[in-house]
């Protein structure tokens, strides 16, 4: 089985978010970048398939040379090789087109992406790739097993979960649950050393239309201070929630 794991390179979850150039661009100054947490669960699940079912695991990112350390980290965790599509990931349609091209050329049976990336939170790329290629697609996937060309999965639904089955080729939008958090892999010294010798192929993007553009960023307005209520004055809290906030 050939697996492709889509890796998004995102600011670490604790990063302070700032903008430059008239608030038109994200300011990456001093920001630590990591593998998108949803993708990290997918990558570890892919490594499990590699170890248990002799799958090969390729990781891919659409991005500039600055994302290579993130791909190297994925290699250090155990991916066999990496591909970087050398383009600025401007719009989810554009990214999906690039990934679809990589998938077509590589003949992958299973494509694992995160259900959303923690920077733009679009949640669009995996579904778009599936639609472009006509692949089966499971979103918000929290469990996945594969036998021959059959897949069984669990996906989250509002207020519960759903067991589904399908066949390869398949693309999933994955998340926490694909593996236990305690089983997430972190690169060890040996992994880091071997990662240096693994192939990281850079490919040029294909022509693709762009339909959306982020034109301006803004931070939420500063909040007014919290209204504290004394612990022995619950009536006041109820009064505030009823008459001021009008939520009860």
């Amino acid at each position: 089985m050939k697996i492709l794991v889509c890796i998004s390179h995102v600011p670490d979850t604790t990063s302070k978010i700032n903008f430059t150039h008239d608030d038109s661009q994200f300011d990456s100054n001093g920001v630590q970048f990591v593998i998108n947490p949803n993708d990290e669960f997918g990558l570890t699940r892919a490594i499990w398939f590699q170890e248990q079912q002799a799958a090969t695991v390729t990781v891919v990112n659409v991005g500039g040379p600055d994302t290579e350390p993130t791909l190297r980290k994925a290699l250090a965790i155990g991916a066999n090789d990496a591909i970087r599509v050398n383009a600025n990931p401007t719009d989810s349609f554009f990214v999906a087109k690039q990934l679809a091209e990589v998938i077509k050329n590589g003949g992958y049976d299973l494509v694992i992406a995160g259900k959303e990336s923690l920077d733009y939170n679009g949640g669009m790329v995996p579904g778009m790739v599936a639609a472009i290629l006509g692949y089966n697609f499971i979103n918000s996937c929290t469990e996945l097993t594969i036998e021959a060309t059959n897949a069984k999965a669990i996906r989250e639904i509002d207020g519960g979960r759903e067991k589904v089955s399908t066949s390869l080729p398949l693309i999933i939008g994955g998340q926490k649950g694909l593996v236990e958090e305690k089983d997430l892999r972190i690169p060890n010294m040996r992994g880091i050393m071997t990662a240096r010798a693994k192939t990281l192929t850079v490919v040029e993007p294909v022509e693709a239309s762009v339909h959306t553009k982020a034109v301006k960023f803004e931070k939420p307005a500063p909040k007014s201070a919290v209204k504290l209520v004394a612990a022995d004055n619950i009536d006041e809290l109820i009064n505030l929630l009823h008459n001021e906030a009008k939520v009860i």
Partner: protein
């Protein structure tokens, strides 16, 4: 030209979000001088939509579509959008809609903006405001394709009555075998109580509650308020509560009107998931807990004393109101 919305339903009845979508689409339609068409799939009584400004319903009745299938539903919405010559398609941010939206976008070759939090900021060019960086910022996105798709964040616009003279039309889109590549084997719903996604009020507990045996008071508080229960990440990691209740950046987002956090510190990753809740109340014994910086109302106190009092007082309040 028209604005097309997908009016989601569950068990044959519209979800509340369908009315929010209708209210929103009506306003957009007014600005663009056009009408609102809703797509309903296997909803028995569609008349309720006329209260919220829908001009026409395309009523789909099809046994194959009784269970949700992202691809098939996307196919229906896409055909409806083409038939109505839609300029804007409005979808919601439920798990189902998030699943099918990108499929609709590709089929219509349309730019799609998810997590939209308000009416378009401008129509020429077409710009909408969305959340980004896990609610730590807003982002104005320009959509340049002919058809524009908007994924409206829950509770971001509100529901407004606006009675219309609604026409109902039976609609028979083609669905193919191809649409059913994913087979649903079984569905497990939570305990039958309110789900986090649908809830107007969410009561959430953190590690400050010390153990699963103390969740009775959280559940009781939720019950008095008709609220859903939720928790912080360590609580679900410790298996005190099911993973489906974990909210935050790596868990579920919450966009309720009221979020009550009990014994939760307010770590940045937790706050990221609840930022779009309107009113936040925090109960924490530590006056320095970061949650107080983002909360609207707070009580510094021991949850084990405050919550039982709150339940008692709320019961009395509910009895009178």
């Amino acid at each position: 030209m028209s604005i097309v919305i997908y009016a989601e339903s569950a068990e044959g009845k519209f979800k509340k979000i369908a009315f929010e979508l209708a209210s929103y689409a009506k306003k957009v339609a007014e600005s663009l001088g056009t009408t609102v068409t809703a797509v309903s799939i296997n909803t028995q009584d569609v008349s309720e939509l006329s209260k919220y400004g829908v001009d026409k319903v395309l009523k789909v009745t099809n046994d194959k579509l009784v269970g949700f299938s992202a691809k098939a539903y996307a196919d229906v919405i896409q055909q409806a959008a083409r038939k109505e010559n839609a300029s804007v398609v409005v979808l919601s941010s439920t798990t189902d809609s998030i699943y099918l939206a990108p499929l609709v976008a590709v089929a219509l070759e349309a730019g799609f903006a998810s997590n939209v939090v308000g009416l378009p900021e401008s129509y020429l060019p077409f710009q909408v405001r969305r959340t980004a960086f896990s609610n730590k910022a807003f982002n104005s996105t320009e959509i340049s394709s002919d058809i524009k798709i908007i994924g409206l964040a829950k509770n971001s616009y509100g529901i407004f009555e606006n009675t219309s003279n609604m026409a109902t039309e039976d609609f028979n889109p083609t669905v193919s075998e191809n649409d059913f590549g994913i087979k649903v084997e079984s569905v497990e719903k939570g305990s039958g109580k309110v789900s986090i996604a649908d809830a107007d009020i969410v009561v959430s507990g953190g590690r400050g509650l010390k153990g699963p045996e103390n969740w009775g008071m959280i559940e009781e508080l939720a019950e008095v308020l008709g609220a859903a229960t939720a928790c912080s990440k360590p609580v679900s990691d410790l298996d005190w509560r099911p993973h489906s209740e974990h909210v935050g950046q790596t868990g579920k987002p919450v966009a309720s009107n009221l979020y009550i956090a009990v014994g939760i510190s307010g770590a940045i990753q937790h706050i990221a998931g609840i930022n779009s809740s309107k009113v936040k109340v925090v109960i924490n014994s530590d006056p320095e807990a970061p949650f107080f910086k983002v909360a609207d109302y707070g009580i510094v106190g021991d949850a084990f004393e405050v919550v039982p009092h709150l339940i008692e007082k709320l019961k009395a309040f509910k009895a009178q109101n």
